[in-house]
Amino acid sequence: MSRVPTVDEVGVNERVARFQTRSIKSASKVEALKLILSMIDLTTLEGQDTPGKVRQLCQKALHLHDAMPGLPHVAAVCVYPTMVKVAKKALGNSGINIASVATAFPSGQAPLSVKLDDTRMAVAEGANEIDMVISRGEFLAGNYGMVFDEIVAIKDACGDAHLKVILETGELGTLDRVRQASELAMHAGADFIKTSTGKIQPAATMQVTLVMLQAIRDYYAATGRMVGMKPAGGIAHSKLAIHYLVMLRETLGKAWMTPQWFRFGASSLANDVLMQIRKQATGVYQSADYFSKD
């Protein structure tokens, strides 16, 4: 007779505020910045994406900033299913994962058959990670079984690809619902739970991320299965990304502090991190002019 725990919003805000007062300096800052780079899913998800744009993104993924040796590569590139083939060709054997959104991203307003086709196509073209969206309308209407079954079906269609389940926390309304959706997704087989599509405001926040991390922790305690986490959208600056790392470290501990279990869904974050790494090395504040924009 266990219940999904409720969440006190004011308490969450206070805990988040504490994370934001951690002061990460010198060696620990450089280490954090490099870790963040290795956790980025470099993303382009625009209606106006073309093969040229995706090739450019992949080039950036492979060559973040050649002028600085010893940088890790990003964890993945994230594109629409129609761009997976282009990305696969461009990335070759680099070890960078190819994540594709699927299931009528971003709205999820389509029948299951369409979502399954979407997923299968992306996997067939070479994606080894699938970022799906849950049916928020169904969830808010209380059709939890339907939302659950959809995730199970998509997971099956993924084959060997790992599945990230996007909750679209900005549409869920309360932290209680975020907690509920997190548990539902994990029990349905999610390998990762992800905050947002990045297409609406608010996207990822530290508050919803904390609730999701706590859900992951309780799920792990109960089942022994680790689930990964990905905040996406709105994390453009290193300082904020470092706050997320602090939150991750103090909530889940050492085991989750790798790209295998944590990702940042971001595009412009990478350059800001590069600028901060350069600043730490030289002691001098940097200009965006010196870092390639893609």
Binding site: V10, Y220, G224, M257
Partner: protein, 489 residues
Amino acid sequence: MATPENKLAFDGGWQYSPAPESTDHVSIRKKYELFIGGEFVAPVQGKYFDTINPATEERLSRVGLASAGDVDKAVKAARKAYAGWSRLKPAERGKYIFRIARMLQERSREFAAIESLDGGKPIRESRDVDVPLAAAHFFYYAGWADKLEYAFPGRKVKPLGVAGQIIPWNFPLLMAAWKIAPALACGNTVVLKPAETTPLTAMKLAELIADAGVPPGVVNIVTGAGETGAAIVNHPGVDKIAFTGSTDVGRIIQKALAGSNKKYTLELGGKAANIIFADAAIDQAVEGIVNGIFFNQGHVCCAGSRLLVQESVAGAVIQKLRERMETLIVGDPLDKNTDIGAINSKQQLETIRSYLAIGQEEGAEMFQSSCPIPKRGYWCRPTIFTGVSQSNRVVQEEIFGPVLAIQTFRTFDEAVTKANNTPYGLSGGVWTDKGSKIFKMTQSVRAGVVWANTFNKFDPTSPFGGYKESGVGREGGMHGLDAYLKLEA
């Protein structure tokens, strides 16, 4: 639901580098005299005592030791200043107090650093809690100075005269603000004695008060220990005594004041019950436990030092608490990442250690976090005792350190009974998602402050004070004005 195998690991991996607060803008004199009549004057007997940094055991400064003669001078100065101060237009009094508040905001960083150096609390707490709250207290009471009649319908108000105020070492600057601000706003003048281990921010406040142009003698600050305090309590020229400290000393003071016609307020010890129901927002409740007993090193009179957790969730709560304890950083108070600073004094550390021994002798199970601690200085890791009940000394007596005693309960009534079964009555906490239970609990718990789904929250507008042996009188809010006024028909 938590099983022992699926544990989290917080050791190793990415660690935080030292992040020291800079102190090059901080100035501490080698020696501080007594602040009497608007000036710094040497103590009559020429005696001084050291104040040390409990994190390094190094001396920070020397301060004057006020004898009965010095106290007499201070009381006379306060009495002399009272004539003018009490006759000032109330709005003008208010403006002086606004100035103190404003200047404290401007000098906040320096005050925060000195508070941490002198007392051992983490710079993050001094910076984010102690100093801003102190300034806010001055702001709040400044505004009351010319509005007192609205707080007491049907009564005319008059100040009492000279207030003797004795404050503790756990929130040195904040306690000074809690005492001075309302006293001044109500038209009184003050002789204040900071705790002997934490005099420095009081001396800096004295300098600030002089810089703000407050008339000489309105605030007098005399440093010293028990004898200085006794001299203030016993001085016939003092009209009112305000004391914050242990219940034992409070008892002594109340006895000493018997038959004297002096008004008094006492804010004493506590052994608050923090009650977690199964329907609480559990993760936030665990954070509430941590806020309740581990922050400020547990040196908090209203600390949630007893956890009462509903049996059906006890396992999960305790497991989460232990994991959270492993992420608490004990160390250099001036490091911005420190969560738990130094124990305030060698004496207090010995007291805490004796209770740790008592608890274990009584058969309790003790768990401490595994964080590293510095070699020099006074430190205590966050500690919990399980397997204890109402009759354990560690459950009954105030330890005043980062030590939590954990008991379980089955029903609402059982929780209330356990919570009230104590001579103390300062505060209490209740964690539940159910609104009606919150109000039932606040109705049933015999304590002056009840925190529902939160803990250790303070605000200048919110009255604070205890039932039973936790003291008499309230500080803060509209109710806090009572202590410093005579009400006449």
